[in-house]
Amino acid sequence: MPKVGITINGKEVLAEEGSNLLEVALANGIEVPHLCYDPRIKPFGSCRMCFVDIGGPRGPVPACATTVTEGMQVVTDNEALTALRKVALELLMSEHCGDCIAPCQLACPAHIDIQGFIAFIDRGEYEKAAELIKEKMPLPSICGRVCPRFCEQECRRNMVDDPVNICDLKRFAGDFHLEAISSYVPQKKPDTGKEVAVVGGGPAGLTAAYYLALEGHRVTLFDRGPKLGGMLRYGIPEYRLPKALLDREVDLIAGLCKEVRLGQILGRDFTLEDLRKSYDAVFLGLGCQSAQGMGLEREDMPGVFRGIEFLRSVIEGNPPKLGSRVAVVGGGNTAMDAARTALRLGAEEVYVIYRRSRNEMPANPIEIQEAEEEGVQFKFLTNPVSILGEECVTGIECVRMELGEPDASGRRRPIVIKGSEFRLELDNVIMAIGQGLDLENAQCCSLQLERKNLAACRETGCTPMEGVFAAGDAVTGPATVVEAVGAARKVARAMDLYLRGQEVVPEREPFNCSMGSLEELDPKDFADREKMERIPVRHIEPEIRKKDFREYNLGLTEEEARKESKRCLSCGCQEVFHCTLRRYAEELEISTERLGVERKRYPISKDHPYIQHDPNKCILCANCVRICQEVQGVNALCLVNRGYNTVVKPVLELPLAESGCESCGQCVSACPTGALTAKSPFEKPGPWRDDRVVRTTCVQCGIGCILDLHLVADRVNRVTSPLRQGINDGNLCVKGAFECRFGQEPGRLHRPLVKRGGALQEAGWEEAVGAAAEGLKKVREAHGAESLAVLVSPQLSNEEGYLAQKLARQVLGTLNIDSTEPPFGGGVRPAGRFVSYEEVGTADFVMIVDANLPRDYPVAAHKVRQALDRGARVAVLGREATRLDRDAHVVVSINPGKTGEALKGLLAYLRRPGQETSLGEEELNRILVQLPEMLRDNPAGLAEMAELFLAAERPVIIVNGHVLGAAELALLEEAVRLADKGEQGGILPLYRGGNSRGLLEMGVDALLLPGGRAHVARGRSRDEILEGLARGEIRGLLLLGDGEELELPDGGEEAFTVVLASFWRPELEKADVVLPAATFAETAGTVINCEGRLLELNPAFAPPAGKENYAIIKDLAAALGKPLKAESPQEIRAEMREALGCDLPGLGCLLPAQEG
C-alpha cells in the first residue's frame, strides 16, 4: 500500500493512502473522541464528535469521514474543537435517558456502590460485597448499625413498595467479612516512606488512617481515649453498637497503622507544631467532643448531666446513679440514646423534652419510634426555662411553645406561648442539645476557625496550614458516621496526592445522568415491577430489651439477606464502567444541567435470550444497525421515524428474537452506551468493575477468535473480543459471545465417578484413575491391544492431543486413535499451501463449496463480505441455500449426494485443451451430459464459476471440512492445479472443532503421526472404532474431552469405557469411569485454527476437580505402568516441537515468540 505523510498535532505520521484520518490518529496513539465510528463498519459521521481541524475553509471536519492526503496538517485538539465536542456531548446527553449510577449510591455520603454490593450478596459472594463496600467505607459493620440510611430515602423501590433494606444488608456483608476473615488485611501498596499523623480515632480518623495506610504511607494514629473509636465508642450505647464488634472492625484498621498512640491529647501531650515537624502530613479528625449547655442557671447542679458525658460515663463502666424520674432535653440522636440508656439504668419515667414538634426532630425516625416503644415519653413544643432545686435538682420549669415562620435552617421557629409556664418534678436532667468542637484544643494549636468549626476545604480537607488536613464533625459540626467517613476518604485521597508531590485537586464527582428524583418520577413507570415485601428485621421485644444493654437488632440471616437482595431494582446502568458516552462526558466535564435530560418512555425489551435493548439510552449512532447489516448481513435492526423521534427498533417492530437476529452480539459490541447490552449471566447484574480480563481463544469452532473473559470474583461476567486484533477483529458469533461453556454452568462434574454395582459413584482421583487403568489393562490382556481405542475431542489442546496419541500408541499400544470429528472423514491432511482469512478478504474470487458460512462460520462470512466490498466475485456451490447467496454472483444448488459429481463438472469446465485430468475423457463427457440431473438449478452456473475461477488472480475456495469427504477434497485440489494459480489463492478448509487442525498435526489420526507423517500400519478411524464397538471388536474405549458430538453406538455398553468430561449428561451412565475434565477456560496450551495458525489458550481459573487434562492423561499413563514425561504444557510443547520435526507448515509456527 502506498503511504502518505501527514502531520497530526505537529507530529509527522505515515498513513496508508485512502485511510481515514480517525483511524490514522488512533493508530498513532492520538485519542480523538468518537462514538459512531467502529473500524468494522463504514464511517457514518452521525455523532459529530471526532471533529478535527485541517485548516480547510469549511472549518472543522469529522476525522472519520476525512481521507488522508499528502501533507495534510491536522490539529485534533483546540479550544474551538473542544467547545464543539462539548455541545455535541451535551446534546447527546440530553436525549440519553437513564441512570448511570443508582440513586442510592449518589445519596450515600460515602458513595458506596450499593447496587454492586447487593448484587454480590445476591450471588452469595459476601466477602466480595464487603470488599466493594470497603472501597468507600471501611466500617461496614459499624455503619450497618448506626447509619441514618440516606440511601434508602432515595431508593427507587419506594415507588413500588418499601425501600430495600440497604443498611442491614451492609451490616450483613460487614459481619460476614469479620467472621470469615478476622485476620484479613487488605493489600497495602508499597511503602512510600512518608510519615503521616492522624489525630483522632473516631470515624473520620479511622477512615483517613485506613486509606492512607493502604496507599503505602506510614500512619501514626493518636487518640485521647484509652481505646480507639471516638464517638463510635463513647457516644453510641452498647445496645446499638456492641463494643466487642467495634473493637474487631477498628482493630483491622489499627493493624494497618505503623503505630497507635492512645491517651494522647492534642495541646496537652503533643502539639500540632511537633507533628508538623515529625510528619510529612497531619490529618485532624478531632470530632465534636464538647457537650453544649443551655446557659440556664444551676445547669451544673448535681443531678444534671450533659448528654454526651452521660453516655460516656455509662460506656466507661461508671454510670451515675439516677432517680426514678429523668428528663432528657433535646431532639437529636444523642437525646434518644440518653433517654433509652436512662431507662436501661433503671429510671421509671423518662421524658424527652423538645421545643419543636415531632416532625422537626433531627433524630432518626426509627430511633424515635424505638424509644417510644420502650416507654420513653415525649413532651413536644416544650422548653425548659429554669432548673429547680437547692442542692440537687428537683425539677424544671418549662414553657409551652408554638411554631412560627421557618428560620434559616428551614424549620419552623418555636415561639414561647406567654403564661404557659409549668413545672415538672424530676430527679435528673440530661442536657442533650448539641456538641461542639473542643475549642481549647483548637485554640492552643492556633488552628483557624470558621464559625465554630475548623476551617478546612470540604473537598480536599486542606486547612490554611500547609500539610495539615481535616475532616469530620470538627469541620462540618456534629453529623453522622457515614458523612465523616465520606469526607475523610476524600481527604485521604487528597493527602495522598499531597504526599506524592502532586497537585491537590478535589476528587471529581462521578458523571451521572439521571432519570430524575423520586418526586420527578411517574409511579406508572414502576407499575410492572413485582411487589416484594421488605424482609422484617428481627428485634428483641421492647419490654425485654429495655432491661439491659444487649444489642436488640438481630440483623439479617443469610437467607433473609439473599431474599432482601432480590428486592434491589438494579437502577444503575450495567455499562457504567464501559460506557464510552459517559467516559467522554466525564473527560470533557460536561453537565446535563443546561439542556436537561428529556424523558423518553420506550419499553426496555428483555425478551431476547442474550440481549437487552433499552432505546432510552440510545444516541442513534446506528452502529448496531450498520454492523448488523454491513458485517453480519442480517438487517435485524433499523432506524424508525424521523427527527427527535428517531429510534432503533428490530425490523417491522418485531421482538428482537424474531427479527432475524442471530444473537451474534455484534450490536452489543458496537454500542457505545448501555442501549444494547449483553444480559448478565447473573440475576442481579452488578455493575462490577472487572477483577481481571483473561485473553484466550474460542474453541467453539476452528476459526480461532480471540475471547476476552471479563472476570468478577472468579466468574465470567461478560465476554468481549478486542477491536483491531486477531483474526476476528472484534467480531464474534453467538457461540463465542454467549454460548461458551466455561465450566461454571450447572451440571459441572467436580469429582471422578466410578461404576460400583452398576451405578456411577463419586470417587477419589487415585481410585478412579486406578480403576480406569485396571479396566483398560484387563481388556488388553484378554483381547489384545487392537481391541482398545482412543477418541479425542477437537476442543482439546495440541498438548493434550499430543499426549493422548502417545498414550494410545506408546502406553496402550493401540493404533486405534482418532478425533471424535475427523475432518474430511478422517485420514486426510489438506495438501497445498495454507490460505489465511486475510487472503479471503483480499481475494478477487471466492468459491464456497458446501459450506453455510453465515450460519456455521459467521466470522469467515465477514471476510467474504469484505472481499465483496472490494469487488470480488463470489460463487456458491452447495446443497443448501445460505444468506450469502443473494450477494453472490453465481449460485448453483446441488442435489443431495451429488457434490462430487458437481465438482467433476467444474473440472470439466476448468480443463483447457491438452490438460490431463484424473477422470479421463469418457468420465468428463458423461458428467457434462448428466450434470443437469445433479444440479437443482442453474446448470450453466458451473461453467460461469469455472470462467470466474480461471479469470481470477487471487482465488480462494472455502470448504466445510465436516461436509466434504476426502474424494471431494481431492477433486478441488485438482481444480486448483488445473487452474494453475501458482502461489496465489488456494483452499481454506473450515472445521467445526476448535482444534481439528491441531489434532491432525499432532497425530490424533488413524493414519497420520505427528507432523503428518503416514504411519506404516493404519489403525481404526473414528467410524471404524464405532463400528468395532457395535460389533464387539473394540472392548475398551478411552474418550477424551466430552465428545458430546459423538453418539456412542448401541452395543458399546459391553466395552469398558473411560470418559474425560466436564459436564454431566445422561449418556455418561454408559461409562465405567468418568474423569472430571478441565474446560478450555481452565486450560493452558495451544490450538491450531483452520488457517494453520497457532493460537494460545490461557486459563481463567483452575479446574474445580483440581486436575488439568494433561495431568489426568499423565496419571493414566503412570497407572498403566508406563509413565509419560509431562510436567507442564510447556514441557509437552517442547517435546511436541521436536516430534513434529519442524515448525508447522504454512502460517502456524511453533515459535516460542508466539507462545507468549
Binding site: P43, G45, R48, T67, L92, R642
Partner: protein, 598 residues
C-alpha cells in the same frame, strides 16, 4: 381577413383547482358547447391571490383577465363578453377597462421562466414547441459538443436555483470529467420548503422546459439516464410530467438516438414519500436507491460518486428550466439580466401579509421593497411592514430597515439570509418574531432525518427553548444558549438542513433582539401573539352587553348581565380569539404588557 374566434384560457394548476377552477372550466365547457370559442387549459400565471383566473383573448389578440371567477359568473361572461363583446368590468382585473391595479403585479416582473406558464397548454407538446420549445435541445445536439454546451452555460453565469447558488457549469463539468462510463442526471423536484411552490408551478405549467433542460444537461455530462425525484404530494405535476415524457418520446426528443443523433436518454420518475430532508442531494440519492433517506458526508461529492456509486449531477427544477432558454437564445442574451455575480431571474413564491401573493419572477438584484410593494402591492393588513423571510426554514428574517437589499446570492448572504429555493414570506407588525423562529424550528426539528447529533438533538433543544420563551418561561441565559447552540449546529451538522436550520433564530435574534428580551425578561409579547403572554380584555365603556361574545366563548370564560359590560375571566380564557372576532363594537382588545419578574 376573417375574424378569429375568441379564445378562453382557464388556469388549471393546483392553485387554480384548489380555488375551484375545474368547476369554472366545466361550466364554460358546457356554456360554450356549439360555439366556435376555443376553450383552453393552461398553468398558473402566478396571480394565485385571485384564482380562479379566466383569460379571454379577443379576436384582435387583446387579453382580458378575469379573477376570482365562480361557475355562477360563467353565464354572464359568455353572454356579455363572448357574445356581445362587452367585457364584464366588475370581474376584470387586467385588460382594457379593468379598474384594479393588478396589472402592476405582472408589470413589475420579468418573466422568462414563467413566460409559458399560464399561457401554453402544459399537456400539449405542440403548444410548447410553438413558442420555441426543444429548439435549445436541437441546437445543442446538432451543432454543439458537450464541452461547448458547458461553456455556454458558463458564459450565461447560471447558478443553481436549489438555494446554494453553486455554478451550474462547474457541477456539470465535474460530473463530465469524473471517471466512469455510467453517469446520471437527476432533477430535484422535492420542493419541501413550507410556502414554496415555484417548482410545482413550472412542472404543472411548463413541464417540457424541465425535460428539455435535463436532456441538454444529460448530453453535456454524458448521462443516458435521468431521474426526476418529485414529491408524491404533487400528483398533478407528476401526471403532467408523465404526459410530457410520453409526448417527448413520441416526438423523438427522448429515448434512443434523439433527433437522429447518437445521443440517447431515458427519464425515470421517482416519487418521494414526503421527507423534507430528501431534498438534500445525498439523501435524495439514497432515497432513489431505495434506502432510508439520510444525508451522507461529502466528499465524495455526487459528481464523483453519486447515484449507485456513479458520477451524478443533481440540479433543481428551476435550474433546468433556465437551460433551454440559455441554449435557445444564447448566453449573451441571458447574462445581461441580473447582477454581476447573480445572473438571470429568480422565481419567488410571495406569501404572507402581502396584498397580492403568488408566483413572481424578477431579475436578480431587484430589491425586497420593490417585490413587496410594487409587485405584491404592500401589506394586506395595512399595518406597517416588519420583515420578510427568504429561503424558508433554511433562510433568515430580513427586517424592513433592510428592504433596500437587492435580492441576489451575495447580498442576502451578507445579511444572514439566503436565497434558498425561493420562498418569500412577508410579515407585518403583528407578527411575533420569536414565534416565527419557533415556527420554522418546529418544521426543521420534525424534518431532521435524525442522523446527526446537532441537527436532531440541537434543533429539538432550540425549539424547546423557543417554546419556553413564548410561554413566558424563558430564562435569563436562554438567548445565549440559543446563540451558542445555533453556532454549533451550523458548524457541526452533517448536511445543509442542519447547517442552515438555525438561520431563522440567528437572524431574528440579530434584528429583533428586543423582542426576545421582552419575552424573556419582561414576559410580554410586543406583537401580542404568544398566547401565554397576552390577555383579552373587554372595555366596559364600549361593551354594550350584547352577550354575543359570551355565547361564542368555547371556554365559558366571559360573563356579564345582558346589556351590561361583560368581563373575561383570565384563568379560564384559552385565548382563542373568537370573542374579538365576534364583537361588533370593538370592545375587546388584546393586551400584552411588560410584567415585573421575580
Amino acid at each position: 381577413m376573417h375574424s378569429a374566434p375568441y379564445r378562453v384560457k382557464v388556469g388549471l394548476a393546483t392553485c387554480g383547482i384548489a380555488s375551484g377552477a375545474a368547476k369554472v372550466y366545466s361550466a364554460l365547457e358546457q356554456a360554450l358547447q356549439g360555439t366556435d370559442v376555443r376553450l383552453e387549459r393552461t398553468g398558473c400565471i402566478g396571480m394565485c391571490y385571485c384564482e380562479p383566473l379566466v383569460e379571454v383573448i379577443a379576436p384582435g389578440g387583446e387579453s382580458y383577465m378575469y379573477g376570482k371567477v365562480t361557475p355562477e359568473d360563467v353565464p354572464r361572461l359568455v353572454e356579455e363578453h363572448l357574445k356581445q363583446g362587452k367585457p364584464v368590468r366588475e370581474l376584470l382585473i387586467m385588460g382594457e377597462g379593468a379598474e384594479t391595479d393588478d396589472y402592476s403585479f405582472l408589470q413589475g416582473q420579468h418573466r422568462i421562466l414563467l413566460k409559458n406558464c399560464g399561457h401554453i397548454d402544459p399537456e400539449d407538446i405542440e403548444s410548447y414547441m410553438a413558442v420555441g420549445g426543444y429548439e435549445g435541445l436541437k441546437k445543442a445536439l446538432t451543432s454543439m459538443t458537450p464541452e461547448e454546451v458547458i461553456e455556454e452555460i458558463k458564459r450565461s453565469g447560471l447558478r443553481g436555483r436549489g438555494g446554494a447558488g453553486f455554478p451550474t457549469h462547474a457541477k456539470w463539468s465535474f460530473t463530465r470529467q469524473a471517471p466512469g462510463k455510467q453517469k446520471y442526471i437527476v432533477c430535484n423536484a422535492d420542493e419541501g420548503d413550507p410556502g414554496a411552490f415555484m417548482d410545482r408551478s413550472i412542472l404543472e405549467g411548463d413541464p417540457h422546459s424541465v425535460l428539455e433542460g435535463m436532456l441538454i444537461a444529460g448530453y453535456a455530462i454524458g448521462a443516458n439516464t435521468g431521474y426526476i425525484y418529485i414529491r408524491a404530494e404533487y400528483p398533478l405535476a407528476i401526471r403532467r410530467l408523465k404526459v410530457a415524457i410520453q409526448q417527448a418520446q413520441e416526438r423523438g426528443f427522448l429515448g434512443e438516438r434523439i433527433l437522429g443523433t447518437d445521443y440517447s436518454m431515458q427519464i425515470i420518475i421517482r416519487e418521494g414519500a414526503g421527507a423534507f430532508v430528501c431534498g438534500e442531494e445525498t439523501a435524495l440519492l439514497m432515497s432513489i436507491e431505495g434506502k432510508r433517506g439520510m444525508p451522507r458526508f461529502r466528499p465524495p461529492f455526487p459528481a464523483q460518486k453519486g447515484l449507485f456509486g456513479h458520477p451524478t449531477s443533481i440540479n433543481n427544477v428551476e435550474t433546468f428550466a433556465n437551460v433551454p432558454r440559455i441554449l435557445h437564445q444564447g448566453a449573451a442574451a441571458y447574462n445581461t439580466l441580473g447582477t454581476e455575480e447573480s445572473k438571470g431571474t429568480k422565481v419567488f413564491a410571495l406569501a404572507g401579509k402581502v396584498r397580492r401573493g403568488g408566483l413572481v419572477e424578477i431579475p436578480m438584484g431587484t430589491t425586497i421593497n420593490e417585490i413587496v410593494f410594487n409587485i405584491g402591492g404592500g401589506i394586506s393588513t395595512g399595518k406597517p411592514f416588519k420583515a420578510v423571510q427568504t429561503g424558508g426554514p433554511s433562510g433568515g428574517c430580513i427586517p424592513a430597515e433592510l428592504g433596500d437589499t437587492p435580492v441576489d446570492y451575495e447580498s442576502l448572504k451578507k445579511i444572514g439570509a439566503i436565497m434558498g429555493s425561493g420562498g418569500l414570506l412577508v410579515m407585518d407588525e403583528e407578527t411575533c418574531m420569536v414565534d416565527v423562529a419557533k415556527y420554522f424550528l418546529t418544521f426543521t426539528k420534525e424534518e431532521s432525518c435524525g442522523k446527526c447529533t446537532f441537527c436532531r438533538a440541537g434543533t429539538y433543544q432550540m425549539h424547546k427553548i423557543l417554546e419556553r420563551i413564548t410561554e413566558g418561561k424563558g430564562r435569563e441565559e436562554d438567548i445565549d444558549t440559543l446563540e451558542e447552540l445555533a453556532e454549533k449546529i451550523k458548524a457541526g451538522s452533517l448536511c445543509g438542513l442542519g447547517q442552515t436550520a438555525p438561520n431563522p433564530v440567528l437572524t431574528t435574534i440579530k434584528y429583533f433582539r428586543k423582542e426576545y428580551d421582552a419575552h424573556v425578561k419582561e414576559k410580554y409579547c410586543p406583537a401580542k401573539k404568544c398566547k401565554a403572554l397576552i390577555e383579552y380584555r373587554i372595555d366596559p365603556e364600549v361593551c354594550t352587553g350584547c352577550t354575543l361574545c359570551a355565547r361564542q366563548c368555547p371556554a365559558g370564560a366571559i360573563s356579564g348581565e345582558k346589556k351590561e359590560a361583560h368581563e373575561i375571566d383570565q384563568s379560564t380564557c384559552i385565548r382563542c380569539g373568537l370573542c374579538i372576532n365576534s364583537c361588533k363594537y370593538q370592545a375587546i382588545t388584546v393586551i400584552s404588557e411588560p410584567r415585573v419578574t421575580a
